[in-house]
C-alpha cells in the first residue's frame, strides 16, 4: 500500500492534541457534592494527586483517535498496487560486447549505455513493464519487472565482456518478451555502438536505438596463432596480425612475450584502416606466447593477445587387442606417444592412459579416457552385424579433422561391421552399406570408431592409414591449446577435475563435468588442481575485427526505427493503483455517527 499525499499524514499530529485536551478536561471537570465528608481518603491509590496523568481511556476517546487515523489516511489518498495489466512494455537491450569497453566516451561506452538505460527505466511509469536484456557473448534476460528500481538494479549489474555480442539472440529474446503479451504495446530500445553482425530480424515491437560512442581511434591484434616447430627446428612459430581501424596512419610498437618475459619487439607502421602480419619465434620450451601493442588507444582489451603452444611430452596409449600388430605400428609412428599393450582378458581400467584403443574388443564399461574403437565386435552396443562384402568410401565429411589430408579413395575396407550410430556420434566416412567411421563426444571425452578390421583391408599398406590414425589420435586427444575468441565455449578434457581459473585469478563457472567453460573475459585460463601444475591452459583473446573496429555503426534492422526520446516514455496521468480513500471516508462518517450516539448516551446518563 502506498499513499499519494504523504504530507497529509501530518494530521496524525492531532492525536496528541486530542489526548492533551482529554488531559486538560480531566483536570478541570468538577462535580459539586453536598459534602466531601465521606469522600476523603477514599482510595489513596486511585486519587489523582499528580497534575499530569494518564488520560482516561474512554470509548469516546478511542473513537475520536480512530476517527483521526481514518480521516488522515483518507486524506493521504492510499492505494493498493494494481494487478491490472501494464499499459506498455519497455525492453532495454544493453550491448555488453568488447567494443562497448571503448573509452571514447567517459568512462566507457558500456557505462554510458547503462546510464542511458537507467534513465529510460527511471522515467517509465508504474504502468510500464520493464525487461532488461544483456547482449554479451551470450544473450541473457536480466530482469522482467514492473518495479523500475529492480530494473535499474539489473542494469547496474550488467558486466562487460571481451567477446562479440550475440545480438541476434538478444534481439530475438527481446522480441519474445514483447510477443509474450501482444495486446500490450512494446518498445524495444537498443543501447549499442552497432558493432555486431546484422541484419537483425523483425520483432513485434516498435524500435528505438540509442547510439553509443563516437570514436574510431583503435589498433588491435586481431589474430594470433602458434604452430609446432617445423621439422628440423626446435622453435615454434607465432603469427600475429595487427590492424589499424583509425582513419589516420599510425606507428605502433609490438612487444612479444614468452611465458611472461619479453623476448622481441617490432615496430609496425600501419596505414589508415590497414593490417599487417608479424612473425615471432618464441624461445624453445615456451608454454604461453603473448603479444602486446605498446601505447594506448580507446580499446585496451584488443591490444594484447595470447596463445598456448602445443603441449609437448610423452602421452601413454593403452592398446587393448588380441592382434595388435597393425595398430601398434600406426600408433608408434605418432611422435610423443608411448604405446602399452594388453590382452582383452587382462584389461583393467587404471586411469593412467591418455588414450585407450580397443581393437576387436569392447569392455562392458568404457573408461573415461578418450577412445579409439577399431573393429568393434558384432553384438556390442555399436555394431549390430557383419557385412559380407568389402566396403569403400562413398561419402566423406570434409569438415572432419579425422580425415583431413587422408585419401581414402582407393581404400577397400574388409570385414565391415554394420555400425549403429549413437545419438552422440556422427558419420565421418560412409560406405554403401552404412557408416564406416564415426566421431563424437560421449560422457566428456571424444570417441572415434573405425567400423572395419584394418588388417583385412588394404588400408595398412597405404600412407593413408598412419595419417588416419594420427588424425584420429590428434582429434580425440585435442585440448584447448592455442587461442580462441572471447565468448567461445571451450571444451575441457574429459575425466579431469579441477578448478578453472580465469584472468587475474578469477574462478570461472564451468559445467558440472568440467567439459565446457564460458570465456567472456580475455586472458589466460587454467584448469588446475590445488598445488599442481595446470592440467590445461588456454588463451582467450578479443580477436574479432568487428569488435576492434570501434567506429559506431547504424545497425541494420528489418523494420523501421523511430527516434528514441525519454519523454515519450514518461509517466502519463496518475500512477496505476486502486485508491480506496472513499471507503475510508465512508467509514469515517459511520464512525462519527457512532461517536455522536456514544456522546449523547453518555450525556443523558
Amino acid at each position: 500500500m502506498s499513499v499519494l499525499a504523504p504530507a497529509l499524514l501530518g494530521f496524525l499530529g492531532l492525536i496528541p492534541v486530542i489526548i492533551l485536551i482529554y488531559l486538560i478536561r480531566a483536570q478541570r471537570r468538577r462535580e459539586p457534592v453536598s459534602s466531601v465528608l465521606l469522600w476523603r481518603n477514599l482510595v489513596q491509590d486511585l486519587e489523582m494527586r499528580t497534575r499530569f496523568r494518564r488520560p482516561p481511556i474512554t470509548l469516546l476517546l478511542l473513537l475520536q483517535l480512530l476517527a483521526v487515523v481514518i480521516g488522515t489516511l483518507a486524506l493521504a489518498r492510499p492505494f493498493w498496487e494494481t494487478t491490472a495489466p501494464p499499459a506498455r512494455q519497455l525492453v532495454l537491450v544493453v550491448d555488453a560486447s568488447a567494443s562497448m569497453n571503448a573509452t571514447d566516451v567517459q568512462p566507457n561506452r558500456l557505462a554510458e549505455a547503462k546510464a542511458r538505460a537507467r534513465e529510460a527505466a527511471a522515467s517509465a511509469g508504474a504502468d510500464t513493464a520493464i525487461a532488461v536484456v544483456r547482449a554479451g557473448p551470450r544473450a541473457t534476460l536480466e530482469v522482467a519487472t514492473r518495479d523500475s528500481g529492480a530494473a535499474i538494479a539489473a542494469i547496474d549489474a550488467i558486466q562487460p565482456s571481451d567477446g562479440a555480442a550475440d545480438m541476434r539472440t538478444a534481439w530475438l529474446l527481446a522480441g519474445s518478451v514483447a510477443a509474450a503479451r501482444p495486446e500490450i504495446p512494446a518498445t524495444v530500445v537498443l543501447f549499442s555502438d552497432g558493432s555486431f553482425l546484422g541484419p537483425l530480424p523483425s520483432i513485434p515491437a516498435s524500435l528505438a536505438i540509442v547510439p553509443i560512442g563516437n570514436g574510431s581511434d583503435n589498433q588491435a591484434i586481431v589474430q594470433v596463432g602458434v604452430r609446432r616447430p617445423p621439422a628440423g627446428s626446435a622453435r615454434p612459430d607465432a603469427f600475429v596480425r595487427v590492424a589499424n581501424y583509425a582513419s589516420e596512419p599510425v606507428e605502433r610498437r609490438v612487444r612479444a612475450f614468452g611465458d611472461g618475459l619479453s623476448f622481441d619487439e617490432q615496430t609496425v607502421r600501419l596505414g589508415a584502416r590497414a593490417t599487417t602480419d608479424l612473425v615471432f619465434e618464441p624461445p624453445v620450451g615456451t608454454r604461453v606466447f603473448a603479444v602486446q601493442l605498446v601505447g594506448g588507444d580507446v580499446l585496451r582489451a584488443d591490444d594484447r593477445a595470447e596463445a598456448v603452444l602445443p603441449q609437448s611430452g610423452e602421452r601413454e596409449v593403452l592398446l587393448v587387442s588380441t592382434a595388435p600388430e597393425v595398430m601398434r605400428r600406426a600408433l608408434r609412428a605418432i611422435p610423443q606417444l608411448t604405446v602399452r599393450e594388453v590382452a582383452p582378458d587382462l584389461y583393467r581400467d587404471s586411469g593412467s592412459a591418455a588414450l585407450v584403443v580397443f581393437d576387436g574388443y569392447l569392455p562392458p564399461a568404457l573408461p573415461p579416457a578418450p577412445l579409439l574403437i577399431v573393429n568393434p565386435p558384432v553384438g556390442s552396443w555399436i555394431a549390430s552385424a557383419r557385412i559380407g562384402r568389402p566396403g569403400y568410401a562413398i561419402g566423406i565429411d570434409p569438415e572432419s579433422a579425422v580425415v583431413a589430408g587422408v585419401d581414402l579413395a582407393a581404400v577397400e575396407f574388409g570385414r565391415v561391421a554394420q555400425l549403429v550410430v549413437p545419438s552422440w556420434a556422427a558419420p565421418v566416412v560412409t560406405g554403401p552399406d552404412g557408416p564406416l567411421i564415426l566421431e563424437g563426444e560421449r560422457d566428456g571425452r571424444r570417441v572415434v570408431v573405425l567400423g572395419f578390421e584394418p588388417a583385412a583391408s588394404n588400408l595398412p599398406k597405404m600412407v593413408a592409414f598412419p595419417a588416419l590414425i594420427a588424425n584420429a589420435v590428434d582429434w580425440v586427444l585435442a585440448g584447448p591449446d592455442g587461442a580462441a575468441p572471447a565468448g567461445t565455449t571451450i571444451r575441457l578434457p574429459g575425466g579431469v577435475r579441477g578448478d578453472l581459473v580465469g584472468p587475474e585469478g578469477r574462478r570461472v563457472e564451468s559445467a558440472a563435468l568440467a567439459l565446457t567453460a564460458d570465456t567472456d573475459i580475455a586472458g589466460l585460463y587454467q584448469l588446475r588442481r590445488l598445488g599442481a601444475d595446470p592440467l590445461t591452459l588456454f588463451a582467450i583473446n578479443v580477436a574479432d575485427e568487428r569488435e576492434s573496429d570501434v567506429a559506431p555503426r547504424q545497425p541494420a534492422v528489418g523494420q523501421p526505427i523511430r527516434p528514441f526520446s525519454l519523454p515519450a516514455l514518461g509517466v502519463e496521468g496518475e500512477p496505476v493503483g486502486i485508491e480506496f480513500w472513499p471507503y475510508l471516508a465512508g467509514g469515517l462518517l459511520l464512525l462519527l455517527v457512532v461517536e455522536w450516539l456514544v456522546y449523547t448516551r453518555r450525556g443523558s446518563t
Partner: protein, 309 residues
C-alpha cells in the same frame, strides 16, 4: 374530624421553589396522624394530644374511691346518692404538646435531584400540619451553624399558611454545625416537647452533643435524615474533582465502580453509627431518600417506625 385547611397549595413539584403540602387526599391522611409523644408533656392548655396518663380534665374516663386529701370538688355526689359511698371522678388527659421541627438549612442541603432542602421543607410542612391539626403547639427552627431563623409557636390549622410562608422564605446558606445549633435551640427557654430534627447530618462535628443537650432539656427527639439519590448511589463518572458545597474543599478521585462501592460501604457504616447514637440516646432515627414520595415516607415509613401514630 375537621376539614382540610382551605387554599393550600396542592402541587407536588418539589423544584418549583415553593413549599407545598399535597393534594386533598394526602391532607386528610395527615389529619388522621399524630406525632407520638412518649413521656414529655406540658401542663397548662389542654390540646387534643391524647396523653399516656389520666388527668382531671372534663372528659370523663373512670371513678376511684375517695381518699383523704382528694379534691372533694371531684366527688360525684350523684353517685354518692345512689350507692352511699364517695367516689372521685377521673377524666382522660388531653395534653398540650409542643412540637419543635428543626430544619437544617445549610448549603449541603441544597443538593441533589430531587433537591434535599425542598424535600425537607415539604416534610417539615407535613409534620407541622399533623401537629397543628392536633392543636399542638408547633415551632419551626432553621439551623445551620446556629439557629438562623424560627417561626412559632403556632397552634391550629389556620396557621398553616404562615408556616408555609416561613418555609418558603428559607434558603440554603452557611455551614453545618448541628451540635452548636441544637444547643442554642435548647437554650432558648422552651425545654419541653418533641424536637424533630430534619437534616442530612453532614455535620463535620456530628450531632450527638446537640441531641444530648435537647434530652437534657427534657425534650423528646426524633432524627430524620434526608439524603439525595446521588449521595446514596453515586454514578461512575471517571476522573472528577468533588467540590464541597459548604467549604469549597476539593477531593480528586476517579469514580470507578470500585471506588463507588467503597463509598457506599463507608455510607453504610456512617448510617449504622448514626443509628447507634440515636439508639443510645433513646431517639428515633429514620433515613430517607429525597426521591421517595413524601406520602410514602409520612403515611408508611414514619408510622412503621412509630414516629407517627
Amino acid at each position: 374530624m375537621t376539614s382540610p385547611a382551605p387554599n393550600l397549595r396542592l402541587s407536588q413539584n418539589l423544584d418549583s421553589g415553593r413549599t407545598m403540602l399535597g393534594d386533598e387526599t394526602f391532607l386528610r391522611s395527615l389529619e388522621q396522624l399524630a406525632i407520638l409523644v412518649r413521656r414529655v408533656t406540658r401542663p397548662g392548655l389542654n390540646g387534643e394530644h391524647r396523653g399516656l396518663t389520666r388527668s382531671n380534665s372534663a372528659e370523663f374516663a373512670d371513678y376511684r374511691p375517695y381518699a383523704p386529701g382528694d379534691d372533694f370538688r371531684r366527688i360525684d355526689w350523684n353517685l354518692y346518692g345512689r350507692v352511699g359511698a364517695l367516689f372521685v371522678r377521673l377524666s382522660e388527659a388531653r395534653e398540650d404538646v409542643a412540637i419543635h421541627v428543626l430544619l437544617d438549612t445549610s448549603r449541603s442541603m441544597d443538593f441533589g435531584r430531587p433537591n434535599k432542602l425542598a424535600y425537607a421543607k415539604r416534610l417539615v410542612a407535613a409534620l407541622s400540619y399533623i401537629a397543628l391539626s392536633r392543636l399542638d403547639q408547633v415551632s419551626v427552627g432553621a439551623l445551620t451553624y446556629d439557629v438562623v431563623d424560627r417561626a412559632g409557636p403556632l397552634r391550629g390549622k389556620d396557621r398553616v399558611h404562615r408556616l408555609l410562608g416561613f418555609l418558603d422564605s428559607l434558603s440554603a446558606r452557611g455551614t453545618t454545625d448541628l451540635n452548636t445549633a441544637l444547643r442554642r435551640y435548647a437554650d432558648t427557654g422552651q425545654p419541653h416537647g418533641v424536637a424533630i430534627v430534619v437534616s442530612d447530618l453532614l455535620s463535620p462535628s456530628g450531632f450527638r452533643a446537640g441531641i444530648e443537650r435537647l434530652r437534657a432539656a427534657r425534650m423528646e427527639a426524633v432524627v430524620l435524615q434526608v439524603l439525595a439519590p446521588q449521595e446514596l448511589a453515586p454514578a461512575v463518572a471517571g476522573d472528577v474533582e468533588l467540590v464541597d458545597r459548604e467549604t469549597g474543599e476539593i477531593v480528586e478521585v476517579t469514580l470507578t465502580e470500585a471506588v463507588v462501592n467503597e463509598y457506599q460501604r463507608r455510607l453504610r457504616e456512617w448510617t449504622a453509627e448514626n443509628e447507634r447514637i440515636c439508639a443510645d440516646l433513646g431517639v428515633s432515627f429514620h433515613q430517607m431518600s429525597s426521591a421517595t414520595a413524601i406520602e410514602t415516607v409520612v403515611v408508611t415509613e414514619l408510622r412503621s417506625r412509630r414516629i407517627l401514630v
